[in-house]
């Protein structure tokens, strides 16, 4: 991680930047995971943007006649126990999942990176206090903390989004602070300080961009896991409430019918799998493309 930020630090100096970036993208293109990941994420974004409009049926429309129908030309993903079209519900769920994933990460990053920057740059008692707090949050297994907070706030999608974000931010604080600590001692920073640059300026101009790369890479991998965490909370009854077609909530309802209606849990389950996989592949590929050690190998 350190080396990659050193590399990216170099990249942000004028003149050298573009060729480095172009090289990175070419490397990225050589990693098979990058293509698959981009394709999946791209598909997900499309589903999120146009899915609900493209859905063949109203995802909330109950129909007694169409109860638990297997996949057919009329219903590509089959129907659920209330006769609702599962394709439409999964498509609507894509929008929910992507939105949730992004919101969780944005919240976590705003809080986590913000606090990490403060801790890493100011040092002293502020750093100590923030790190102790981060340690306390990190002492919890992540999902345990999310469940405890979500149970306290009550069921509901927004509550679980908040709960997951609150269990996620410390990772970014730790990440950012660690990077900052090492970067602080870098020559060019010391040079800037000696030239009289104020703290905020150093922070924004020199440190933030370098840290930014790592954070963005981590966040892109994490979106998938945030989606997974939301689905998990919905599965145990804390997240989305009926009739919201969140993927995890659909699987929870599908459990009773899975023996006779294999399609009911399978399509939302596969959707979650693909979404997480997509972000994982893409994020990992980006990380690999920027890691100098592997670049040397390739």
């Amino acid at each position: 991680m350190l080396s990659s930020t050193r590399a990216s630090a170099i990249s942000l100096r004028p003149g050298r930047g573009t060729s480095y970036l172009r090289r990175s993208f070419r490397l990225l293109a050589r990693i098979p995971g990058a293509w698959i990941g981009t394709a999946i994420v791209g598909l997900l974004v499309l589903m999120a943007l146009f899915g609900p409009a493209a859905a063949p049926y109203d995802p909330y429309h109950i129909s007694a006649a169409d109860k638990l129908r297997p996949p057919s030309p009329a219903h590509w993903f089959g129907t659920d126990d209330l006769g609702r079209d599962l394709l439409s519900r999964v498509l609507t769920g894509a929008r929910i999942s992507l939105a949730v994933g992004v919101v969780v990460l944005v919240l976590a990053m705003v809080v986590g990176v913000g606090l990490g920057l403060i801790a890493g740059y100011w040092g002293g008692w502020m750093d100590e206090a923030l790190m102790r707090t981060t340690d306390v949050f990190l002492a919890f297994p992540r999902l345990v903390l999310a469940i405890a907070i979500a149970a306290t706030l009550g069921p509901g999608l927004s509550n679980s989004v908040l709960a997951i974000a609150l269990s996620w931010w410390p990772w970014y604080t730790r990440l950012v602070r660690g990077q900052l600590l090492s970067l602080r001692e870098q020559e060019y920073v010391l040079a800037a300080v000696s030239l009289g640059a104020g703290r905020p300026r150093i922070l924004l101009q020199h440190l933030l961009p370098n840290v930014g790369t790592t954070v963005v890479v981590q966040a892109s991998i994490d979106i998938g896991f945030a989606i997974l965490a939301t689905a998990s909370l919905s599965f145990i009854g804390l997240g989305a409430q009926p009739p919201t077609p969140e993927w995890g909530a659909i699987i929870a309802q599908a459990r009773s019918y899975m023996v006779d209606a294999w399609w009911y849990p399978t399509f939302p389950g596969t959707a979650i799998f693909l979404a997480v996989l997509g972000f994982n592949l893409l994020g990992n590929a980006v990380r690999d493309a920027f890691d100098p050690r592997l670049r040397a190998v390739m």
Binding site: I62, D81, P155, P242, R255, Y257, V259
Partner: protein, 545 residues
């Protein structure tokens, strides 16, 4: 940088050989294991013809017979017995621990003659003293069925060990029916209660996980962690053990319906207690399994909070009653297995209403019209709905209503909770939800039981079962009148009049009368169901062929 195969010491050939050997070993192992596993599974299934495994749907809070009021009564009725019981599937009262009974002409004094030679599981004798102490205990604790005796029974006399006399505060024609109720006055050994009383708890602490009854089965073990209760035959049972009876009953607490379904298929359970119509229908198609069907006294409805805005407005309640898709619900939720319900009393009750008495059908236009005449002409409000966890019938009814109300610009906010918590909140008008999908069945075999409990002022919340918090003076007057006369024909007329008022005022959304469908293994014999005895079935009558 190369790490080609020439570098690593293991040659390709050797590697492939090892792989091949490994695969062969794995294959044989898997085949062997599969056999071993199959043997193991069969062993599980061969719990024996003398053991009945029941997959129980609700968890046990306590085994105290004077407190149990939920489905745990299936278990307690195997351990404890009452003075009388109901025969077959009718409301006919027959002897149990009492051999005969008689009421004074003014129905204020009831005398029961008791069976001799009955012993409790702890070896003590069953006498009139046990009856007195049990009923007094029930009144004192005042939970569950306590309401039927509290304030009703004045004093209890025990002139001799085999005679007990109840002196009531007022005439009660239904007293014998009350003693035949599914729970409440199930006789518990006074010696056990005294021996294990802790402070003033009257043995509640001990009886939560122990038992001392007169019934055919004793409590052998109660494993809270594994969620398992084992009953075994009581050798000294007064009824004897001639004929065919299971000697051991295991209740395995399994709230998840699909798990119960798989258990029945895998022969890990013999009888299920699930309600999910889709799963039951799927099981009905499988070999080795049969589904027994019984009519019930259970009504399925959605209570509407009539003491709180906006449902306080009759027009809105009527609008909701027109906004519910009754036929859709019958097919979606119950796959067509539902009897009609035209009012508070079920189809099988002598006082039930006719189709013409219930104006409500699925008619969104009518609903909109009524809404426009109400205090919220454009809708625009949100109603809270509580859902009992784990029951798909309630969940679907809720979602059906939610979807239709959306068309009226009314939002429904659904919250799922466990039964005990939900009842706690729904018990008080301030914390109860606006809408509550729920069931009810009569505590005892008389129309007054259900009507009083569900729509009477005295039955608000968990004092009875009135989650609509409905109260109407005319209805109260009619019911009071009916309870005071003995002419059955006249009584039925009064009950019908009362029901018509409730229906016109849309006290609840009446969806249907339930049919009890019980999935069990084909070799289970003797399963019987009495609609007046709640969700229980007679364990003693069961045998496996």
């Amino acid at each position: 940088m190369t790490h080609g195969s020439s570098r690593s010491g293991i040659s390709r050939r050797r590697f492939l050989e090892t792989l091949g050997l490994g695969a062969a070993a794995l294959g044989t192992g898997a085949a062997g294991m599969s056999e071993l596993l199959r043997v193991g599974r069969a062993a599980a299934a061969a719990a024996g013809p003398d053991t009945l495994v029941v997959a129980q749907d609700t968890s046990v809070q306590t085994l105290d017979p004077q407190i149990v009021y939920d489905n745990t009564v299936r278990i307690t009725r195997g351990i404890y017995e009452g003075l009388v019981t109901l025969s077959g599937n009718s409301a006919q009262i027959v002897p149990r621990l009492a051999t005969s009974w008689q009421a004074s002409p003014d129905a204020k004094v009831w005398t029961f003659k008791l069976r001799s030679g009955v012993k409790f599981h702890d070896g003590t004798d069953f006498t009139s003293e046990a009856v007195k102490s049990t009923v007094e205990r029930l009144i004192k604790i005042n939970r569950g069925m306590g309401y039927a005796y509290h304030g009703v029974v004045d004093t209890i006399d025990t002139p001799d060990p085999l005679t007990v006399r109840f002196n009531l505060t007022g005439p009660d024609a239904a007293f014998a029916a009350k003693t035949a109720a599914v729970s409440g006055a199930l006789m518990v050994s006074p010696a056990a209660v005294t021996a294990h009383a802790s402070g003033t708890d009257m043995g509640q602490g001990w009886l939560a996980s122990n038992a001392a009854g007169t019934g055919p089965y004793m409590l052998q073990s109660y494993d809270k962690g594994a969620g398992q209760i084992v009953l075994s035959a009581f050798p000294g049972y007064w009824g004897g053990w001639q004929g065919k009876h299971v000697k051991q009953v295991i209740f395995k607490i399994t709230p998840e319906a699909s798990t119960q379904r798989l258990m029945l298929e895998q022969q890990d359970a013999d009888v299920l207690t699930i309600v999910a119509p889709d799963l039951i229908d799927a099981l009905a198609k499988e070999s080795g399994i049969k589904v027994a069907s019984f009519p019930t006294q259970r009504i399925f409805y959605i209570a509407m909070h009539s003491q709180r805005d906006p449902l306080k407005d009759v027009k809105i309640r009527q609008a909701l009653s027109y906004a519910f898709d009754y036929d859709g619900a019958k097919s979606l939720i119950f796959n067509g297995n539902l009897e009609p319900l035209y009012g508070p009393l079920p189809q099988s009750d002598p006082a039930h209403l006719q189709e013409t008495d219930k104006p409500y059908t699925f008619n969104l236009a009518k609903a909109k019209q009524l809404l426009s005449e109400s205090s919220h002409p454009n809708g625009g409000f949100t109603l809270s709905l509580f859902l009992f966890q784990g029951d798909p019938t309630y969940e679907k009814a809720a979602e059906i209503l939610q979807a239709q109300l959306k068309q009226l610009n009314i939002n429904v906010d659904i919250q799922t909770m466990t039964s005990s918590v939900l009842l706690g909140k729904a018990g008080k008008p301030e914390t109860a939800p606006d809408l509550l999908p729920i069931r009810n069945y009569p505590d005892y075999a008389d129309p007054s039981s259900m009507l009083d409990a569900t729509f009477g002022r005295d039955g608000w919340g968990t004092a009875g079962w009135n989650f609509s918090f409905y109260a109407n003076d005319q209805v109260e007057a009619l019911m009071k009148q009916a309870n005071q006369i003995t002419d059955q024909g006249k009584r039925l007329q009064l009950f019908q009049q009362a029901q018509k008022i409730v229906v016109n005022e849309a006290g609840a959304i009446f969806i249907g009368t339930l049919i009890n469908r019980v999935p069990m293994r084909s070799n289970v014999q003797g399963y019987s169901f009495n609609p007046y005895l709640g969700n229980t079935f007679d364990l003693y009558a069961i045998s496996k062929s």
